[in-house]
Symmetry: C2
């Protein structure tokens, strides 16, 4: 049997998992997928992911890759994997990849989605951040304009962390009103953030700060000062993990 | 303290409940709400609902009513109730009602929503009926036309049941393509059924039959024959309860 490399797109409900990355004694998405693949291929399969996701954070499309000795086609791998996986994890697509493909190092852009709900709907438990106050979207959009671009984002890195290089590029931030598809009476706000790279907890810190602008606790113009200060303490509290979704990962070639 | 009657609108995630109605030793939505109200008002509170919902069936807006001796305002009742209720049940609105108001007997129309998903998304577990086959919506809409109107719907009542009068009026059936608000890549079909009254399991039997038309297992024209036959065995299998939502109840006066 030849050795082949597969690339897979997976969606998962992060509630009940200690994030993506394998951790001893903890239930993680990576560990669950490796367990199933090792069972299918009857060999110890290690997978490479496109990055970490924290406890409770979800994925609409997370990309991982692995190499195995097999004659199975991508479609067969997908079917076998989905039949054995926890229902909270679903493979959306499997394809062949080049031997050199690495989901994390080859990623050009990542797109995150963050959901906020104006009502504490039973259908959005662990799926959206419930904020009872009406947010000022126009001000949030204005604040977001200061974030887009290439900046030193030290102010938005997780407190206590000190990345060597904290310069990153945010391509766009879209803020839209949406409705819950289960209960159309429930209004939501969806924030989409696209960037070439992110510091640890950066999206959740951006969302927390934008929400404070929407609540009129901060002015849109203050965002510029917060970024220039490079001081984590000037930005707002981190938004909860359960509202965050990795939406897509973009590679050089169409994926 | 005066005796007052309240009317409440409630939404609930039916998974984990044995339906609405109190049943000895079972966890039901009615029992959970009565437990909380009895605690708040320090008296044995019994509530009257707008009808039964089966195990796993959800509500976007279910209406119930109750009378208690209290000085609390509707807003205070809502706040106190939500603070003590299981998060899978949320009160959306509380108002005063006339003493004669009865949520079931005074209901003029009920609107149900049924969700079908084309992908087995982790975000739609217990929320939508997953059908891997692409459904022919045009044929389903044509089939629905035969159902709308006043007919003897004996063919759509739960098997084994024999209601005395099986004539009901369906005002409309809307079938629309929608997208999952969590994962916009996931396509759904939403079926909305409005009627002045429903037989037991009637909506789920209608949906099961429409889905068989969408799968090309039945022709739209056959629906006419199925209704005329008054034979439950000619209609299709009952659609699963977890895809069904009571969306609204309409009363004589604006509610």
């Amino acid at each position: 049997m030849k050795k082949v490399r597969f690339k897979a797109k997976v969606t998962y409900d992060g509630s009940g998992f200690y994030g993506w990355q394998v951790q001893p004694g903890k239930r993680t998405v990576q560990a669950e997928i490796e367990r199933v693949l090792s069972q299918i291929f009857q060999q110890d399969v290690k997978i490479q992911g496109c990055g970490r996701t924290d406890t409770a954070v979800h994925a609409i499309c997370y990309v991982f890759s692995f190499s195995v000795h097999t004659d199975m086609t991508p479609a067969e791998v997908m079917k076998a994997t989905n039949s054995l996986l926890d229902k909270k994890i679903r493979i959306k697509e499997v394809s062949y990849a080049e031997n050199s493909f690495h989901p994390r190092f080859d990623a050009r852009k990542k797109i995150y989605r963050y959901l906020i709900s104006e009502f504490n709907s039973p259908f959005l438990i662990n799926r959206a951040w419930y904020i009872c106050q009406k947010l000022n979207i126009a001000k949030m959009k204005k604040a977001a304009e200061y974030i887009v671009g290439t900046h030193d984002f030290a102010c938005f890195q997780a407190s206590g962390r000190k990345a060597k290089n904290t310069v990153r590029t945010i391509e766009y931030i879209k803020i839209k009103r949406e409705r819950c598809c289960i209960d159309p009476d429930v209004k939501m706000i969806a924030i989409e953030v696209c960037g070439t790279g992110f510091l640890y907890k950066m999206v959740r810190n951006i969302v927390g700060t934008l929400v404070d602008v929407g609540r009129n606790k901060k002015l849109p113009e203050q965002i510029k000062e917060i970024i220039e200060s490079k001081d984590r303490k000037l930005a707002s509290a981190t938004a909860p993990g359960y509202g965050l979704y990795l939406k897509n990962v973009i590679y050089k070639r169409a994926s």
